[in-house]
């Protein structure tokens, strides 16, 4: 699919149909695409299958908004406070289907998708109920050495959504800080939506090619979206809004309370700019670290 440079977030998200499988929150607690997630529910996109490792709040919010039918993940909750009440209640009331993973099994499933192979073996999982209760994983034997291994089949998301520091309009992306399973999830996906703190000239990307995490042929849409990962942190741009996570935990223990919260923070704003008007924490970088100069040249 060709890239349509620098669409609006609304236009880009409108290309994700209800019923899609969506991998996101892939850098774990770092650079979670909250802005894109909130836009999905504002557009009424639902019946989603969410794919991810540890989801720090975004999955809980999408579930609370009724957008999710199925979760394929290793952990869903609030890393500051533990329980995600909307996830917990949805599971307990059979509101969603959950496929339990470990972080590594999600990573390997996406890596298999990215590699174009049907499955990958691992020495993890065996002996756990993550394996024993799963319809997904199989037991296998290494045909060379005879070792017993768990086999993890490929997962190929319809969409992978990534938030990054900067991207060119063509869809070449610089991403730094820890990246979790961004790389395999991008490789495995049919379509990739990138939200970036900045859309930059292609020359900026070309000046530091070793920092390029995603290249244009993998990318379906690029959107400039400052603060697009708030309340999660983005290396070089802003810190994590810890108080937000604690307030959310205290404010969403019932569906009615969540609906009130979402009425303000999701449905009550039109876009990210208006959303940031609700944030009063100072999350600015107070001690910037500038990397040593990197030279390429010829």
């Amino acid at each position: 699919m060709s890239t349509e440079p620098s669409e609006t977030l609304s236009d880009a998200v409108s290309r994700i149909p209800s019923g899609s499988s969506v991998a996101t929150g892939l850098a774990l607690e770092h650079a979670i695409p909250f802005a894109a997630g909130h836009e999905l529910v504002r557009q009424g996109t639902d019946d989603l299958t969410l794919i991810g490792p540890i989801s720090d709040l975004l999955f809980d919010q999408l579930i609370g908004c009724g957008a999710v039918s199925r979760v394929r993940a290793a952990w869903v909750g609030n890393v500051s406070a533990g329980t995600g009440y909307r996830f917990r209640e949805a599971v307990e009331n059979d509101g969603i289907d959950v496929e339990n993973h470990s972080n590594f099994s999600v990573a390997l499933a996406l890596r298999a998708g990215a590699l174009g192979v049907p499955y990958l073996p691992t020495r993890s999982l065996l002996g756990s109920d993550v394996f024993a209760e799963s319809d997904l994983f199989e037991r296998g034997t290494d045909p060379f050495g005879g070792e017993e291994v768990a086999l993890v089949p490929a997962i190929e998301p319809d969409w992978t959504i990534v938030h990054a520091q900067r991207a060119s309009p063509e869809g070449d992306v610089h991403l730094w800080g820890n990246t979790g399973i961004v790389d395999p999830a991008v490789g495995a996906a049919e379509n990739v939506l990138v939200t970036a703190e900045e859309v930059v000239e292609p020359a900026v990307i070309h000046s530091d090619p070793s920092r390029t995490a995603i290249t244009r042929e993998q990318v379906s849409a690029v959107v400039e979206c400052p603060w697009g990962a708030h309340p999660s942190p983005v290396a070089g741009h802003y810190n994590r809004d810890n108080e937000y996570y604690l307030r959310y935990h205290g404010a969403t223990d019932t569906q009615a309370a969540f609906d009130e919260w979402a009425g303000e923070w999701v449905y009550g704003v039109e876009d990210r700019e208006e959303y940031m008007g609700l944030v009063d924490a100072d999350l600015s970088i107070t001690e910037p670290t500038v990397a040593a100069e990197v030279r390429y040249g010829q």
Binding site: A27, L28, E29, H30, P53, I54, D56, A73, A74, W75, V76, G77, V79, S80, G82, T83, G84, F87, R88, V91, E92, N100, H101, S102, N103, F104, A107, L108, R111, T122, R123, S124, L125, L126, G127, S128, D129, V130, A132, E133, E147, E148, V149, G177, N178, T179, G180, I181, D183, P184, S232, P233, A235, N239, R240, N242, Y245, I285, E287, T289
Partner: protein, 256 residues
Amino acid sequence: MASETYAPRELMVSAAAAEIEDGDTAFVGMRLPLIAFQLAVSTHAPDSMAVYESGVVRDGPADGFIHTMCDLPNLNHAVSTTGMIDIMSRLQRGDVDVGFLGGAEVDRYGNLNTTRVRAGDEEIRLPGSGGACDIACMAGRTVLLMPHESRRFVEEVNYVTSPGHADDGSGRGNHPAPGGGPDALVTSKATFGFADGELFLRSVHPGVDREAMLADFPWTVRTAPEIGEGPVTTTPEPTDEELELIRTFDPDGFWT
């Protein structure tokens, strides 16, 4: 010996840090281990490294409080910020010496449950494995940390999120994972080791009534002298230096 008072969780952090040996590569996850690694690398284990499943590799403490492994102080001046498969590959190859795990339930073999528990007729859904299952399967040894509450100690966990030792003394015979399994359990009242795959009492925290503490378990817990592991000791209190460091890493006592 501490000259000032300390919180139970500060002692847990001190006891958890003591489980990291100098030169270890430690797999660090959420909550108290975030503080314990920083304490260990600042005191007795300066040549230890921490790996975090998000893709962070560190050789020193963060210069600032962290809620999560991805908070910017934990990324700033890291040795490496990479991806999960890099970190999990080290674990799977057998290059991680020690990993930390928590749990809502634990049994005598160190099987841990962080997925779903029963409360009467109700089943309560918890967040799930995260990387815990992987750490339990593949770390050289694991250290389990949890509040000392009787409901957490069970004959059989409701769900094996993180496999422990086999129930027949065959070590890790219940599955072929390469890791060594649970090596210690640190609660808010005592520390325990594992011998022949089963828990035994190693030390009791200062001021804790030993018999009442042991009554929180539904089985008769073995003690160190019963299995030839020396006497049951009193867990060392955090030193003044340790307390100062813990309060630097967690200035508002959010985790401790």
